[in-house]
Amino acid sequence: MKKKGILLILLVAVMSLFASAQGRMELRFNEAMVQNDSNLVDHTGHRSAWIEIFNRSYGTVGMEQMFISNQKIDIPANGQKPKDFLNDYAKEHPEVLYEIPRGDVATKVAPRTHIVFFADGESSQGALHLSFKLTPGEENNLYLYDVNGDLVDAVTIPANLPANNTFALKSDGASNLIDGVMDASAWSVRDGQDDATAITPGKYNQRVINENIEKFHEKDPHGYIISVIAMLIVFSALLMLSILFWLFGKANKAANKEVAVQQQVEKAVEPVQAVAGNNDEAIAAICMALYQHFNAHDEESGILTFNRDANTAWSSKSGMMRSLPQKQ
């Protein structure tokens, strides 16, 4: 019992770890600005390159001890744990790899929200300041590694990205690596000239609309389609339930009947057994004789029913009643 309990706790712990890792794998680079002259200002009043990451999962994700890098890190297969290797690498090469420190609540990303890191090489300013910078006029690569060294996401920002423009996902979080390489078609350059190309650090790249509502408003303005479909679904669900329990009811009735018949047979056979013992042939012969003599079946052919009149002179009320004297 104790062992089972420990196993169960371990299982739950492993599953929760897995769930947490699942959440971190749902983080995506979402928008980045390399040369920031007139855009976002950090808490010290300075402008610098910034990188926005989107948590596309429906749970809060803690980013502590994850790694952000400006070049791909090849983790050697020398038996050293990837996490330890990256840890050491981040200490030795802060200009390349940044480990997000522990203990800062700012690095927890709420479901479906964004986090913005400043790539200013000033990691002493706080957990949201990377230890490396982005270089204007050059291709900038960004890699996000999980705590255990798994590659979560990567993006290559083009060299020709103008100042104060961003390289952003067209739709928030809508990109996946294909064989470890970014899907370039999901990205676009945004210059902030209009709503469609607005620069949106910490906010959604596209205007959030409930597509379902817009769709129904446009395609089904009177509500006929949704009403018919919904009624069909309600009817189908309850009809299935109704049929299922009608069948259960039938089966239950049949089972009850079978039990009742069995009990009846056992009851009827008892007095016959008293005469014939356990000799099956004798029992069958007596039953057949009785059947023929009385033609005594009621509902089911082949099953004998002995209806004994329980009333005797001792118990019957009518038998004990005296007749009133007849009037002459």
Binding site: N210, N212, I213, F216, H217, D220, P221, H222, G223, Y224, I226, S227, I229, A230, M231, I233, V234, F235, S236, A237, L238, L239, M240, L241, S242, I243, L244, F245, W246, F248, G249, N252, K253, N256
Partner: protein, 384 residues
């Protein structure tokens, strides 16, 4: 002396500005009158007192005028009322109420005659009829869906769905749903009489068969699996409803079933009613939308009652003479347990004092609870 006088004056002035008298507006007073009316109806006329007393008192609480910024109001983050209100906003309370409903509902009448489930399904047309009217009036589909669910005649379902689809209308929708549920004895009988002939009202239904314990245990399990595979978005309500019912029927969790159906439901009902009432602040409640919501709620109730009764009449065309259903049980398809079933019984007894329809009407009545939760799940799936 002068200093003391000015000190006192400024403090009294500050205190006066802090009081409800200084901050009172006409809409506040109108809402307070509404709250008093609800309390009066509940206490004097016994209209759904368990709900209208907490809601009515909640309206008083929510409409006491005060200076904002002191973490007092229900919409001020961090206030006690706001913390309690999160259960409504986030949809925690309705599923808990459904757990209690499941634990106190006996589905025997439905299991004895499973075809009555279809009556519960038919009555849900009230929801979609009201949805179409709401769209015609000019509501957006999500708002129309939230308002239309009033036709399900199920308070927790209405709060759950409106909290998800149209939180700004939730107060008005909840008050409307509970008000019309209290008015079921007024709304339904004329509709039932209008749509049935005297001969139909006299139909005597076959006594219900005996339902085994196994069937009662299997119902919540298969009910959950079947309905939630169809409509996963109804899981919070249906899951809790069937879970509560399993606690009741399993026979081995009587203590849990008792707690769920008594103490827990009472606690949640108190908090839910009070916070929903308090959320009906004048600025949110006294709008043209509220008038439309009450109109649409009425339409939804009438359509739901009509469709239930008419469906039974239609169904009778396909049933043998000894299997025929009394159309007076059709209105009970609109949830509102057990009020709607009692109406069926009362109207039936008026025409034949020996025709007790209560147990027959309980079938569609409890099917209506399932049906309205499924309908809410469908609307949430489409519009959420």
């Amino acid at each position: 002396m002068v200093l003391l006088e000015s000190f006192l004056t400024s403090n009294l002035e500050q205190f006066w500005n802090f009081t409800g008298f200084a901050n009172c507006t006409w809409p506040n007073l109108i809402m307070i009158c509404f709250g008093l009316l609800f309390i009066y109806l509940a206490i004097k006329h016994d209209f759904e007192p368990m709900l209208l007393v907490p809601i009515g008192f909640g309206i008083l609480i929510g409409n006491i005028p005060f200076q904002p910024g002191n973490e007092i109001g229900i919409y001020e983050e961090g206030s006690v009322l706001n913390i309690l209100y999160q259960g409504v906003r986030q949809g925690w309370y309705p599923p808990l109420i459904f757990l209690g409903i499941g634990a106190m509902t006996d589905f025997t009448a439905l299991l004895a005659n499973p075809k009555l489930m279809l009556v519960g399904a038919a009555a849900q047309f009230g929801i979609f009829g009201a949805y179409m009217i709401a769209l015609a009036i000019g509501f957006m589909p999500d708002q129309a869906g939230a308002i239309a669910i009033i036709g399900g005649a199920d308070g927790p379902t209405a709060i759950f769905l409106s909290g998800k689809l149209a939180p700004n209308l939730m107060g008005a929708i909840a008050v409307c749903a509970y008000s019309y549920m209290a008015l079921v004895p007024v709304i339904q009988p004329p509709v039932m009489r209008l749509l049935t002939t005297k001969k139909e009202r006299l139909i005597k239904m076959k006594p219900a068969r005996k339902v085994s314990k196994n069937e009662k245990i299997l119902f919540p399990i298969f009910g959950l699996l079947l309905t939630c595979f169809f409509v996963p978005s109804g899981l919070p309500l249906l899951g809790m409803l069937f879970f509560g019912n399993l606690l009741r029927e399993s026979g081995v969790t009587t203590r849990l079933a008792k707690t769920a159906s008594n103490a827990m439901t009472d606690i949640v009902t108190i908090i839910l009613g009070m916070t929903v009432g308090a959320s009906t602040q004048a600025s949110e409640f006294l709008t043209a939308d509220t008038v439309f919501i009450f109109f649409l709620g009425f339409c939804a109730f009438v359509i739901a009652s009509c469709s239930g009764v008419l469906f039974v009449k239609l169904f009778n065309l396909f049933l043998s003479k000894d299997q025929k259903l009394n159309p007076l049980i059709g209105n009970a398809g609109v949830s509102a347990v057990p009020m709607a079933a009692r109406i069926s019984n009362d109207v039936g007894l008026k025409y034949d004092p020996s025709n007790y329809l209560l147990m027959h009407a309980m079938g569609p009545n409890v099917a209506g609870v399932i049906g309205s939760a499924v309908a809410a799940g469908v609307l949430l799936g489409f519009l959420g």
